[in-house]
């Protein structure tokens, strides 16, 4: 929330190749979407400056609804707007969106399969100094368990832009998980996002890293480090957690006997959980999960926290090396 460096990049064109926070890409994408599609409406719960929906509010004040600090009411209202034929995007911090309003999401949004887009920012440890109360490490699990929910975790600004456009076209409930901190560009300029389709950077014959969000960049770094030591590790961006791209997952599991998942989330119930569940039933290989280990986050600088909680490229490298040498 409101740090001085948070003045956002005011770009409306493509974010391909640009280091930018995914929430900034969201703010810009929403404005573009608002211009093209009059049905798009946006709701926020007193965090529009931080989630970047304030940009949409400025451009289309009559289609923006600040709900105040009342996340449950926001989700219910979004449900009603969708029933009135609108395409509501409802945003706040990830923990308040998925945690506070979970049962409203389950009952109102998912059970009726409403066309509501829940786009949350400030997920994971990289929230930083605000600490555990504000760091969602459970949100993917909370959303993934809901029947009919689509769950997407973009890795950079370019991908986020495309995700926002794609979910506006898609009919049904969607959860999109975004971050606070600036992230490097990882997706190639010719990349085309499709819901349910993972992106294979390359397949490795020793190991394959299945990552999402900020961990895609860490996975690519880990690959470079491992290559120098003669270890061939592949990297896959599993941007859609649900529905899981099981075809790509099987390709990876066929290419190597070791799968490593990496996410800025608890290893329980998120990407690692989804991958382990699928593979153990369909194609058992060794699966190692990188993520937080049944713990809350804490205050600190984002990079510092990623180190403390074992979510760096180094941690991926170590996991792969120690597993392969066994």
């Amino acid at each position: 929330m409101g740090s001085r460096e948070e003045q956002s990049a005011d770009k409306t064109q493509s974010f391909a190749g640009q280091a930018v926070a995914t929430r900034d890409a969201y703010g810009a994408a929403l404005v573009e979407l608002g211009k093209r599609n009059e049905k798009v409406v946006v709701l926020d719960a007193d965090l529009s400056g931080s989630t970047k929906t304030a940009k949409f509010a400025k451009a289309f004040p009559e289609r923006f609804f600040n709900m105040g600090i009342s996340e449950q009411d926001m989700v219910g209202t979004a449900g009603g707007l969708s029933l009135a034929g609108k395409i509501p995007f409802a945003s706040t911090f990830a923990i308040f969106e998925t945690g506070r309003a979970w049962e409203q999401i389950r009952q109102t949004v998912c059970y009726s399969h409403l066309n509501v887009k829940l786009v949350a920012t400030h997920s994971g440890l990289t929230v930083g100094e605000d600490g555990a109360s504000h760091q969602a490490l459970e949100d993917v699990a909370l959303m993934r368990v809901l029947p009919g929910m689509t769950v997407i975790v973009p890795s950079d600004g370019f991908e986020t832009q495309q995700v926002i456009d794609a979910v506006a076209e898609y009919e049904g409930p969607v959860y999109v998980r975004l971050g606070r901190a600036k992230v490097p560009a990882v997706m190639p300029p010719d990349y085309k996002f499709q819901i349910g389709r993972a992106h294979i950077f390359n397949l490795g014959k020793d190991a394959n890293i299945i990552a999402d969000g900020i961990m895609v960049s860490a996975a690519l770094q880990a690959r470079e480090t491992l290559l120098k030591e003669g270890i061939d590790a592949g990297v896959i961006n599993m941007c859609t957690i649900k529905p899981l791209d099981t075809e790509t997952l099987l390709k990876a599991a066929n290419a190597s006997g070791l799968i490593v998942t990496a996410e800025e989330h608890s290893v329980i119930g998120g990407l690692g959980g989804a991958v382990a569940e699928y593979l153990s039933e369909n194609h058992p290989v060794v699966v190692k999960r990188i993520g937080t280990r049944d713990t809350f986050g804490g205050s600190g600088k984002p990079d510092e926290l990623l180190k403390i909680y074992g979510l760096t490229a180094d941690d991926i490298v170590k996991t792969i090396k120690s597993t392969l040498s066994r």
């Binding site: 409101g2 709900m67 105040g68 930083g128 205050s299």
Partner: protein, 280 residues
Amino acid sequence: MAVLTQSRDIAFLKEQARIVRVEILKMLTQSGSGHTGGSLSAADIATALYFYKMRHRPDNPKWEERDRFILSKGHAAPLLYTVLALTGYFDKSLLGTLRKAGSPLQGHPSSKLLQGVEVSTGSLGQGLSIANGMALGLQLDNSASRVYCLLGDGEIQEGQVWEAAMTAGHYALDNICAIVDLNELQIDGRCEDVMKVMPVSAKWKAFNWHIFEIDGHNMEEIVNALDEAERIKGKPSVILANTIKGKGVSFFEGKAEYHGLAPTKEELEKALKELGEDGK
């Protein structure tokens, strides 16, 4: 470490409140992030509670007969940490670790990590329910302890607050005193513009609460209301405290931007001068 001195003397309390503001600003600048506006707006109230009204023993934080304080607006953690340090719960030097990795002084209060914090907060709207539970439990034990709960005016937009207001009214929890910091601002701007929450006094009244409306920066009015609230029987009490966000530092006052911005070094210097701390 500080030794607890409590007094009803207004001049004493005003001086403590000034020192509390000074320490809040210093720790925020050192941390480089944190919530300035809402810590300053409630500084006089928290000072009156910790330096006068509440029965508490900093050397024995779990003393059974203590009064309880719940910071429902958990982002005002710098304020809570400051009054805890200045009344002797821990050494003042710890204030410099605010929001640093591994510090017990987390961005939002953690009762697991810090003595004197009754319960972890930071997600708005949950404190009053907890206060109700404590109050019910204390009544079952025939305890004379009271429960104080500080809320923000943006925070009371949360539906849970009104569910809790109904509960306290229904169970006639006269050992509860809620305090609402009516500084008229939340993150996205004025409460009036973001989500009209006023009028509040009619709402609390409708849930069977006894109402006090005071100037939340007038120490005399604060201690009078706290004293009187203790004498109200058969109903919970709420103190609706009209305040100014950022109070005490002219260039932070009434500014929504300083909700979550820490003072820069230059701002700190100017602020300390305004608080009569230059040269120290």
